[in-house]
């Protein structure tokens, strides 16, 4: 979206558009921060409310998706910093609380990739978020720098460290996920 989006969309239309276009990916990103489905639902609602309230301030300088992701990330970080979260946080048991409908995968290769995905989701937040925004949100490093309020070289350094950490966690012999086929 370019130009002045808030001239084109009312607040209601904007929230409807964002829900329809980015609702699923926003919720998935939120989940990677908080690792709890109920909390994801709650935070997603707060994100929608923030979008609704702040729509008049959105000047269209960034992409509407980038702007929404930034609001979602800030909400997640506010939540993770909150005393409420620290009280609730007993242990990181996200692996035990998978979607009950999840299908068991028996294919070996899939398990290997799942192992890599698990390793990514176990990373500390600052490394996890650059991986998630790269792989799950398909963002460029420039966009990641924008939504995380850092600079591109910090994103690159974190990405490199994140890769090292994942490699350390994953068993030897697992496919290298960063090989790009030409």
């Amino acid at each position: 979206m370019t130009g002045n989006p808030n001239d084109t969309f009312t607040r209601d239309e904007a929230v409807e558009f964002i829900m329809n276009q980015y609702g699923e990916s926003l919720k998935r990103t939120i989940y990677t921060y908080v690792k709890n489905y109920h909390t994801t639902d709650d935070i997603f609602q707060n994100v929608l409310i923030q979008i609704y309230r702040k729509w008049d301030q959105f000047n269209g300088q960034s992409h509407i998706k980038t702007w929404s992701v930034r609001i979602a990330i800030n909400q997640c970080k506010d939540y993770l910093r909150s005393p409420l979260h620290r009280i609730k946080l007993v242990r990181n048991k996200w692996l035990d609380q998978k979607d009950p409908h999840q299908i068991e995968h028996t294919v070996m290769q899939k398990e290997q990739w799942n192992e890599i995905a698990n390793a990514i989701l176990q990373l500390p937040i600052k490394y996890r978020e650059v991986m998630i925004l790269t792989f799950q949100q398909d963002m460029t490093q420039k966009e990641i720098a924008e939504v995380t309020n850092t600079n591109v070289s910090t994103v690159k350094t974190r990405m490199q460290r994140a890769r090292q950490l994942v490699k350390e966690q994953v068993d030897e012999g697992v496919l290298d996920p960063w090989i790009i086929n030409e």
Partner: protein, 381 residues
């Protein structure tokens, strides 16, 4: 592709089912009109706000004690009616397209897609099973085509005219055509791999095509207008595109360009360097192009800028020296191969490509490649 495998694995770990549902929408619209007073996240802020209000209230009471209990104006809560679902009769084409796209982008079950298609009067025109090799794996595919029409039309009548011609849309035989391609793996539910939508542009003079592919980097529909326009470009470019798409170069259309994901342009048999150029609207239509190899060929950065999804680029031959002539158009590039190119620039030149994750280069040409590694770029040779 590996990026996609990591993405899929992450998606599987997060949830195999859509997290975003109509319940989220309903909850938002309820919350908007009746704000949630029990939000835990705002508890500290609420306490602070209440404290401040008490002080403010006390002050007001002192200064306006003539009317201590004067009723305040009600808060102006903006109330907008929730969008009314199930109004199929009045739904516009745009709304129909939006709802279909939303469903198709969110890992739909085949039954859910079929239900929505039926709700919008979509009739199945064709269905076919086939196989395709993708990343070395043989995939069983189920292809389905649907026409959306308010008229009573024999579905068979579309079979010889598919995707439908502009005349079919102009005659209002149908207002929307949809192609779906499902991956059919044993013991697994069908998984949507590709979706194409065709409809008449607002000007009524051309067809719009929207394409979603599971293999694309961006999880969204890409759109191009004038899909039936023939492509007018140099023979070398047309034959390269035709080879990549396995289509006759002479019958390529603008709609075909939307399908193009990988392209190699090889000018090694020519004298000198081949300049890849042409009407920019054709390059702009290459919205799925993500892998490009230029052998003895070069593009200007004005052309690169028009290819939004380009993520992997290989230069072969004496075409680039320091990337300065192309860097502006390559700001979304993630992978660069200059191993067999004439590149003789510095690490700083490569660092100007701000999205780069991986570079393949000759370390004797770029001896300070450690700078790239320090910046988080994976350097290979």
């Amino acid at each position: 592709m590996d990026h996609q495998r990591v993405k899929k694995a992450l998606d599987r770990q997060i949830s195999e089912r859509p997290l975003f549902t109509n319940k989220d929408k309903e909850r938002f619209y309820k919350k908007k009109t009746h704000p949630d007073r029990h939000s835990f996240f705002h508890l500290p802020k609420l306490i602070t706000a209440l404290f401040a209000l008490c002080i403010a209230g006390a002050s007001i009471y002192v200064f306006h004690s003539d009317h201590p209990f004067q009723k305040s104006e009600p808060v102006n809560v903006e109330e907008t009616p929730s969008p009314s679902p199930n109004e199929v009769e009045d739904i516009s084409l745009i709304e129909k397209i939006d709802e279909l796209k939303h469903l198709l982008l969110n890992v739909p079950a085949q039954e859910d897609a079929a239900a929505l298609i039926e709700r919008y009067n979509g009739i199945e025109v064709m269905a076919d099973s086939t196989t395709r090799i993708e990343d070395g794996n043989e995939l069983n595919l189920l292809k389905q085509s649907y026409a959306f029409t308010e008229n009573t039309i024999d579905p068979l009548s579309f079979q010889s005219d598919w995707p439908p011609s502009i005349q079919s849309f102009q005659r209002e035989d149908l207002d929307l055509a949809l192609n779906l391609e499902w991956i059919d793996q044993e013991d697994q539910p069908l998984h949507l791999a590709k979706a194409e939508l065709f409809y008449l542009a607002e000007n009524g003079e051309e067809i719009v095509k929207e394409l979603f592919s599971l293999y694309s980097m961006k999880h969204d529909f890409k759109k191009v207008s004038g899909v039936n326009q023939p492509v007018i470009l140099d023979d070398l470019i047309l034959s390269s595109i035709g080879r990549s798409l396995n289509k006759d170069p002479d019958s390529l259309t603008k709609g075909d360009l939307l399908e193009l994901e990988k392209l190699t342009i090889n000018g090694s048999h020519l004298n000198g360097i081949y300049d890849v150029k042409g009407d920019l609207e054709y390059f702009e239509a290459m919205k799925s192009l993500r892998v490009l190899k230029l052998n003895q060929a070069i593009m200007k950065d004005t052309v690169f800028k028009k290819i939004p999804s380009l993520e992997q680029l290989t230069f072969i031959g004496p075409t680039v020296l320091d990337l300065s002539s192309v860097q502006e158009g390559l700001q979304n590039l993630r992978y660069l191969n200059i191993m067999n190119s004439s590149f003789n620039g510095t690490a700083e030149d490569i660092l100007k490509l701000e999205s780069l994750n991986i570079v393949t280069l000759d370390p004797t040409v770029v001896p300070e490649y450690e700078k790239l590694q320090f910046e988080g770029i994976d350097v290979r040779w």
